[in-house]
Subunit: 218 residues, 2 copies
């Protein structure tokens, strides 16, 4: 039996949530006790919620394994937004579950060292903030498509008239890349910093020095 198959089998056995002695697991899988201890270590390290109690045995909680997924940005956005919506729904139990799932997801999402990024020196991604920020996503995207100017009031208090150019997921935050008319320059605005967003009647066209490709060239 290959090791990965054996780990799978262990998880199947443990899925019942009952207490299992290492000896029995060893018998069931045909390996030594020492190997079971090692396997349990591997399972724990990979995030499987199983505990071993001395004198008792091993017990896992209800256990559904979602293997690695590769997501597009749209899919990640959908995931964030949907959990945020549920998290604020007040549905008993579900809001908590959405929060804990969201925390698990944030825990494992890659964080590029580059994205430590100046100005973003927060240690954790606050769930409430993400909910508020992600809410603006659809409106921002519509404005980008329609080339519509927006007025943003940020949590820091300032208001800016901007041309939204792009929304992306950079590091562990959703951000908008904008040309700010108020500041006459490019800006990267975290969506969770947006307190209020108002659609303005003015449209914009690509002007030299103010377009997305200019931003990228800088």
């Amino acid at each position: 039996m290959r090791k990965t198959d054996r780990l799978s089998e262990l998880m199947t056995i443990l899925r019942d949530g009952q207490v299992h002695k290492a000896d029995d697991l060893a018998l069931a899988t045909g390996v030594s006790l020492r190997t079971i201890y090692r396997d349990m270590e591997v399972l724990v390290a990979s995030g499987v919620p199983v505990q071993g109690a001395r004198g008792t045995g091993y017990q896992a909680q209800a256990l559904i394994t979602l293997p690695a997924l590769h997501l597009t940005e749209d899919e990640l956005e959908a995931l964030h937004l949907s959990l945020a919506i549920l998290g604020e729904s007040g549905m008993e139990g579900l809001a908590d579950a959405a929060a804990s799932l969201s925390a698990k997801i944030e825990q494992v999402l890659p964080e590029d060292s580059d994205s430590a990024g100046e100005g973003f020196g927060f240690a954790a991604y606050p769930f409430d903030g993400a909910a508020r920020g992600v809410r603006h996503m659809p409106g921002l995207k519509a404005a980008i498509k329609a080339r519509q100017k927006l007025r943003l009031r940020l949590q820091t208090g300032g208001a800016e008239v901007i041309r939204p150019l792009q929304v992306d997921y950079w590091g562990r935050v959703w951000r908008a890349i904008v040309w700010s008319e108020t500041q006459a320059g490019f800006a990267e605005i975290r969506l969770d910093q947006i307190a209020e967003m108002t659609v303005l009647p003015g449209l914009f066209v690509d002007e030299p020095g103010k377009s997305l490709s200019d931003y990228r060239a800088s």
Copy 2:
């Protein structure tokens, strides 16, 4: 360098969405061309959206990797419900992304062979059905807690007065385990088969032969 580290590094390089020649990847990671070809095969097999074009090079799409997660049932419920809600929201683009993400998740969730289960012989888990079914989850759970009887009308047309005992995720479906007064027996009802659910004024107490532990003993 360990293989897994190298695969990680390859993904980091490819994340920029640009075209990369295998030769350059080999130089960057210090292995032979043949090994790069093998590595790319492994990445593709694991779901990474990367393609190699002959004469050109390798290119990946925007790429966010969510490693394996271990969820509780509550968290899976939250995930299903939240995506279902977003999927029906009509938000442009997001409903599609929620659907595609949901499909990815269903694709990889474990399906116990036991759960092929008689009567459930469907090949795929229809998204629409899941949305409708998951909707009843909160009401069911409240009724279980309050020991409230319910009248269910199923998609097959029948109506039953039931005592809801438990909701769980079995195989790839959410189901309710109930004592059906109409049929005088236990039943397992897929949530997506519930067309309508009405709360009745009657409460129930555990009667011998009709409780959850009786179900489990059978």
